[in-house]
């Protein structure tokens, strides 16, 4: 009993560390990718090729003055940034990074929690992110954050729905919400081949939910300054930032488990490389895809954004569910 709890805590700390590292170097990757896409070098001064830049940024943010706007609601103002990091960290519990390893004759499963409703847990926990945004926008008692927060919340909520609907196709094929079962189902064929529409809608919804370009209306610099975190500075701002990148990592990881075969190697002769490494490579590939999109496409207008969600993605996901239903029946020789 005590041993299990200790092993669990060690696993959790390792995954938390991996996520923080991923987030720190995600910010550097973002700036490097942006730099190279725009034909410049990106950060270059801290360490060789700027690899110490995240560290420098972190230290700088610790030493910045914290401005608590006089008109703000202090309780909510402190709560919102702390809340921003909670959802992505909670999702860590269900990410199936690998099958299991054997240390000293004991088999230890690599996923922290074998939860039966892992996907619903993921959806439920991420839906709480909306409060960090709404409350963060409201707490400053300032116009730009409030407008940004309201817009952002409506956008988040609309795309949360698409996210929820697009995973139903996967669940119908596998017959389980357990992410470990879903990955095992993909041993021979990745689900992205059977569910391409779901994969595309999932990725669009994930990017839009995170308020990233081309869907970064809440942070549209040209009209809303900084969006919901305009009134935040120093470490509080950093926590919002961290939450956003952690959310990117987590939704890439879930997409990997759902559609890209989780810890399985893409071709059989490559399976000598351990599963967790494959999982991280695939997660990073999706993360890179999000960066690539951000620096390639122009921003949408708000009416286009909401229109795309409600008048295009919504019917598409519903049709995908019905189509998957027909496919399963035909395959089982029903009818």
């Amino acid at each position: 009993m005590v041993e299990i709890v200790i092993v669990t805590i060690v696993k959790l700390l390792i995954y938390f560390g991996i996520m923080l590292l991923f987030v720190a170097y995600g910010t550097l990757a973002e700036r490097k990718v942006a730099g190279h896409i725009q034909d410049r070098l990106g950060p270059y001064h801290c360490g060789p090729h700027g690899i110490l830049q995240p560290l420098a940024d972190g230290i700088k943010l610790f030493f910045k003055e914290d401005i608590v706007a006089s008109a703000s609601d202090k309780f909510v103002y402190f709560l919102a940034p702390a809340l921003a990091v909670v959802p992505p960290v909670l999702v860590l519990a269900v990410i199936p990074i690998g099958d299991s390893i054997t240390i000293g004759g004991k088999t230890i499963p690599l996923a922290v929690a074998d939860v039966n409703i892992a996907l619903l847990y993921f959806l439920g926990v991420t839906s709480l992110t909306v409060y960090a945004i709404m409350l963060g926008g409201w707490a400053g008692n300032s116009k730009y954050p409030l407008l940004g927060g309201l817009r952002s919340a409506a956008q988040f909520i609309s795309y949360e729905l698409i996210l929820g609907l697009s995973i139903i196709g996967v669940v119908m094929l596998v017959g389980s919400f357990n992410l470990i079962d879903i990955v095992r189902y993909q041993k021979d064929m990745w689900l992205v081949i059977k569910q391409p529409v779901a994969f595309i809608t999932y990725m669009i919804a994930a990017i839009a939910e995170l308020n990233r370009a081309p869907f970064d209306l809440p942070e549209a610099e040209s009209e809303l300054v900084g969006g919901y975190h305009t009134e935040y500075s120093s470490m509080k701002f950093a926590l919002f930032f961290l939450g956003e990148y952690a959310n990117m990592v987590v939704s890439s990881a879930i997409a990997t488990a759902l559609f890209l075969g989780g810890w399985y190697a893409p071709v059989h002769w490559l399976s000598f490389i351990p599963g967790p490494i494959w999982f991280l490579i695939k997660t990073f590939a999706l993360f890179f895809f999000m960066l690539w999109i951000r620096w390639t496409y122009p921003r949408l207008r708000y009416d286009q954004l909401m229109g795309m969600c409600w008048r295009f993605l919504m019917p598409v996901t519903l049709l995908n569910i019905l189509g998957t239903g027909l496919f399963v029946i035909l395959k089982n020789g029903g009818l």
């Binding site: 959790l12 610790f62 030493f63 003055e65 703000s72 229109g307 027909l326 399963v328 029903g334």
Partner: protein, 121 residues
């Protein structure tokens, strides 16, 4: 052996970890950073001028309608989750049931679209 503790214990540990992370970083920053506040610095941001009026914004009713629609479709999605998990065992009847369910809700969806609740100008 590992099923002897609930899979939700890690969730509890993570919740503590996440909250501790937020609080500790804020505390450490509070210890090391400078603090020299004055009135202008603490006033709400408004492109460099003094705020003209308090942040009172009438939120467009459209946002309200969208959230209400979200809530209703979310409940619809909730009905779909157990259905999706059981779909292989329900077979053809499962398909017909959900088809009916979606069609009934599509009536509302089309009504919302026709009344312009899904349009943004």
């Amino acid at each position: 052996m590992y099923q002897s503790i609930s899979p939700y214990i890690p969730v509890l540990i993570l919740l503590v970890l996440a909250l501790a992370f937020g609080v500790v970083t804020l505390m450490v920053a509070w210890l090391v950073r400078p603090s020299k506040p004055y009135d202008e610095k603490l006033s709400p941001y408004e492109c460099g001028i003094n705020p003209l009026m308090p942040a009172k914004i009438r939120v467009p009713i459209r946002f309200f309608v969208i959230i209400l629609l979200f809530l209703l479709f979310d409940v619809e999605a909730v009905f779909m989750y157990p259905w999706a998990a059981m779909y292989k065992k329900l077979g053809i009847w499962g398909f017909v049931e959900m088809f009916l369910f979606i069609v009934i809700l599509l009536v509302g969806y089309i009504y919302a679209w026709a009344k312009g609740a899904l349009e943004w100008e």
